[in-house]
């Protein structure tokens, strides 16, 4: 079991890391743009992102399942029941959260920072980066929220991942499985391991931001 547990933890971290990474690559810039930009449709985009935050995980899972099923649009890619498919479902779930949280973080310093950046003739990408850098401490919370959602999610990943042993089984689906086996206390112990992983990631992340006070 030990060897298998490490494998499960590995898959869990891989899935959560990549889904968080991709959601942040998409969501952080979009969040800044939605909050600070002046273009048509930004209010609708904001509302859409807010609505999608409430997307039930199983629905996201179903959509990905329908897309990648044997006779689905992307069926030929053979991605169903792989970690990649799990990441895709997670990205659907988490990106709206990243967008909304980023927008609300940025809104605090938004107007003045945006005028400062324009006054320095910064390019669009440079000022976008600036927004992310200057708000990095608050945005870390956004990233960790995304990571937490991703690592704790079970409905979508069991549907598109299939909870396959040695392949797509993650902590949450393993907990569900042990619960179904009736091994309630073992399932609870796995839950503790999951919390521990979450704790370690949180501590590492805050150390990362603290560690660069003078030297950025």
């Amino acid at each position: 079991m030990d060897k298998e547990l490490f494998h499960i933890i590995g898959v869990t971290l891989r899935m959560s890391f990549f889904s968080t990474l991709i959601s942040c690559i998409i969501g952080l810039p979009l969040g800044v743009i939605i909050e600070t930009g002046r273009f048509r449709g930004r209010r609708i985009m904001k509302k859409t992102a807010g609505t999608l935050m409430g997307l039930p995980p199983v629905v996201a899972g179903l959509i990905v399942y329908m897309l990648f099923t044997k006779y689905g649009i992307f069926g030929s890619l053979g991605l169903l029941f792989t970690v990649e498919a799990m990441v895709i479902a997670q990205v659907m779930l988490i990106t709206p959260v990243v967008i909304c949280l980023t927008a609300s973080v940025v809104s605090v310093s938004g107007k003045n920072l945006s005028e400062t950046a324009k006054g320095l003739c910064l390019s669009k990408s440079r000022s976008l980066l600036l927004f992310i850098i200057t708000n990095r401490k608050a945005l870390l919370g956004t990233v960790l929220t995304a990571f937490g959602r991703s690592i704790a999610e079970v409905g979508a990943v069991s549907l598109v991942g299939g909870n396959i042993q040695w392949k797509t089984r993650v902590m949450t689906t393993a907990i569900l499985l042990e619960t179904n086996k009736g091994k309630f206390s073992f399932a609870l112990a796995l839950g503790m391991v999951l919390l521990l992983i979450s704790l370690v990631v949180n501590v590492l992340a805050s150390l990362l931001v603290k560690g660069e006070k003078t030297d950025d």
Binding site: N112, E115, K118, C121, T214
Partner: protein, 221 residues
């Protein structure tokens, strides 16, 4: 030459700026003065192009603008200055150190900008602007909360930069005396309209409008 024609800016039916016509020659040094809420900042923002407005504004060339509520970036003093530069890292840092020396901040280069005092912060904001080249430089109360010594450093740096660069300089200030030190022409705004457009000496000695008289007399005491 900077040209403004029938420029109008209002926030929910309250007009904050209304200028029929204004021309500023290339390389001219101009000060904007007036009471709080007279429209100085709004005029600078319109010239800088950071807010929407009604009317026609033509500003040729590269414009740099330092807002009144300028934000220091949460990074080192040096990085604040290099952030807007492009090119090789070493060249960027040399340029930035030069700008920091001129504003008396070179010893603080590796401190986080958010740990600076108000006066140091104002000097850093200026250094960050002046490290770039431009055709038009817009400064909104660059010495707003700065002591006498700091004010002198900032004014000298601005003067040196504009003389060397030959750029058009527009500074918003509460002080007619600073207007005199920094410029050859001063525009006094009153309730969003141009009340005086003259040399600083004329404004100080012989203001034309009642408001101008009151404004300047307060500075004599």
């Amino acid at each position: 030459m900077i040209e403004l024609k029938n420029v109008n800016k209002s926030y929910s039916e309250r007009t904050v700026l209304c200028i029929d016509s204004l021309e500023i020659k290339k390389g001219e040094r101009l000060s904007l003065t007036g009471a709080n809420g007279s429209g100085k900042s709004t005029l600078l923002k319109i010239i800088a192009g950071v807010i929407p407005y009604n009317g026609k504004v033509n500003v040729p060339g590269r414009v740099l603008y330092m807002p009144q509520k300028t934000v220091l970036f949460d990074m080192s003093v040096l990085h604040n200055v290099t952030y807007s530069l492009t090119g090789k890292r070493k060249e960027k840092e040399e340029k930035a150190m030069e700008a920091l020396r001129k504003t008396g901040l070179s010893e603080l280069y590796n401190k986080n900008a958010l740990t600076l005092s108000g006066g140091e912060g104002a000097r850093l904001a200026l250094a960050r602007i002046l490290v770039n080249d431009c055709d038009v430089l817009l400064l909104d109360e660059p010495t707003g909360a700065v002591d006498i010594e700091g004010t002198e450093i900032i004014e000298n740096a601005v003067k040196e930069y504009s003389e060397k660069n030959g750029c058009t300089l527009i500074t918003a200030t509460h002080s007619p005396l600073q207007a005199k030190r920094l410029s050859r022409r001063v525009i006094m705004l009153e309730k969003g309209e141009i009340a005086e457009d003259c040399t600083p000496e004329e404004l100080l000695l012989n203001p034309k409008t009642d408001f101008g008289k009151k404004f300047v007399s307060m500075w004599r005491y």
